[in-house]
Symmetry: C2
Subunit: 116 residues, 2 copies
DNA sequence: TCAATATATGAATAACTGTTCATATAATAG
DNA sequence: CTATTATATGAACAGTTATTCATATATTGA
């Protein structure tokens, strides 16, 4: 057991933390969002789609990588509702599904002093 | 090569995307931030520390898990500058190092309708 | 219907990462 | 100085995941 100067104060903080801790399910959902946008290959796709909707070929052109790899990552992004897809003839056209994602990206970018 | 109706439009978007794509290094830094906060065990620690600084024992009390696991995760959070530590006698007292992190967490939480 | 184009997907592999176990370091009390 | 408390850390293992390869599906033109 911890016996620090601030024992009482830290204990109260710990109790409050336990009381206010989101449930496992919410924690998991938040974690899943961050996991989805924590992969460079997926981040690039999201950055690319800021310029507007694109069919898969042009996404590949924008971000690089193989057709299969990009398609797999688009699936992950689609499953997590961050991009949406519609068919247009032979093509599938992708676009950002969620403005919140961009807001989060921009918040972190400015924090890191990345020019986006 | 893609031959969709919007060929010209998508091609321009792809060109713009390539031109405005952050460099590999910036992409990597952004991805690293999200990776750090994409693990439930680390998220819980960050949520806990919202209540104020705590020594390790009380962090463990707040988030659960073994001493070793929590200590390892505190190290990851410290390496990525999201929490800071100071010694206080026998104890190491941790606290949030970065308000930006909380802003990002709250943004995502409200988006997901999690009560935090 | 057949060929070509565009995209998706399943399986396998390789790389990464969180936890555990055992142990090390640091500070303090006696 | 020794024992105890508090925290950190290295190695190993297990689970997860991104990519690749091969192949499947879907749309269109001939």
């Amino acid at each position: 057991m911890a016996t620090c100067d601030r024992e009482a104060q830290h204990h109260m903080a710990a109790e409050a933390a336990k009381a206010n801790m989101p449930g496992e399910e919410d924690i998991g959902r938040v974690a899943a969002v961050f996991k989805t946008i924590s992969e460079p290959s997926r981040l690039k796709i999201l950055f690319a789609l800021r310029q507007g909707e694109m069919c898969v070929y042009h996404v590949i052109e924008a971000v690089g990588g193989t057709q299969s790899a990009v398609s797999h990552q688009l699936r992950v992004l689609r499953d997590s509702r961050m991009v949406k897809a519609r068919r247009d003839g032979q093509n599938i056209v992708y676009s950002l599904a969620d403005e919140h994602v961009l807001a989060v990206l921009e918040l972190v970018c400015t924090h890191l002093n990345c020019k986006i």
